[in-house]
Symmetry: C2
Subunit: 138 residues, 2 copies
Amino acid sequence: MKSLQDRLKEKGLRSSYQRIKILEYLEKNRTHPTVDAIYEALKEKLPSISKTTIYNTLKSFLETGLISDLTISGHEVMYDAETKPHSHFLCKSCGTVLDVVDIKCPHVRKEVDGNKVEEVHLYFKGLCKKCLPEGRKQ
Amino acid sequence: MKSLQDRLKEKGLRSSYQRIKILEYLEKNRTHPTVDAIYEALKEKLPSISKTTIYNTLKSFLETGLISDLTISGHEVMYDAETKPHSHFLCKSCGTVLDVVDIKCPHVRKEVDGNKVEEVHLYFKGLCKKCLPEGRKQ
DNA sequence: CCCTAACCTGTAATAATTACAATCATGAAA
DNA sequence: TTTCATGATTGTAATTATTACAGGTTAGGG
Ligand SMILES: [Mn+2]
Ligand SMILES: [Mn+2]
Ligand SMILES: [Zn+2]
Ligand SMILES: [Zn+2]
């Protein structure tokens, strides 16, 4: 089991208390949190942490491929410690974003129409089972 | 050829000069414009138009299924007169969003993991052919 | 240890979107 | 046609997400 510190080093990132805590939070909370959610959660133990630090840190994590991000909600970016390609489901009622792992996306390709593909995102939107009216469950 | 006015009526929307112009703009500009792009373009002919009207109008167009939207860029919503399911490619260099029509998404399904699916979005991100360095074209 | 580049923080600026209240226009009914 | 209520439009203010920036702090190589 690689330590968080080592994972930062591997990517050429300095290790800092804030970075460790942010990465740790993402590893433990696979809920696709927003910057604000991460900030609110970390503030408890780390009252001095700045939201700018969250933004900066997530940016460097993204650039080094330590994490991935999602733009499914349309009004705020969400972050994910899972970097292997997988799909997502957004509940339009409660806002929950779930991983969809059983759908293998056949679209992992290097180009479309002559354009170079670096990322593929498959998003589903609808109503999650918890928000489906009873009796209408599928 | 159905008139724009009729298409509004069909959806139970009142016809107004602003709505006609906004729908017309989207029909003629299949570039996935943002609210601001629509606003800047319409302002020429319609100097009194308000950005709030654009927001309100697009919202009602979306609710009635007259148009569709995209959250591919992560920092602003884009709008599309095309409502038939299709995929998109975002160039991370120039920001252009292109339709990807040749990829049939096999994911048009009514549920995933018991959650009811209402929309499916397939996004590709990378470098468009215009932004690819010469010699590296695919 | 020292030093410097890299990092963290707080605040201010920017950008996208929503809320709201006053005015105006559509279209159904008289 | 004219009337009128409802719904649409507008301008402004508020909110929210994100970025810019400057000054203080710290990690880690030498
Ligand atoms: Mn995920
Ligand atoms: Mn499109
Ligand atoms: Zn839900
Ligand atoms: Zn490009």
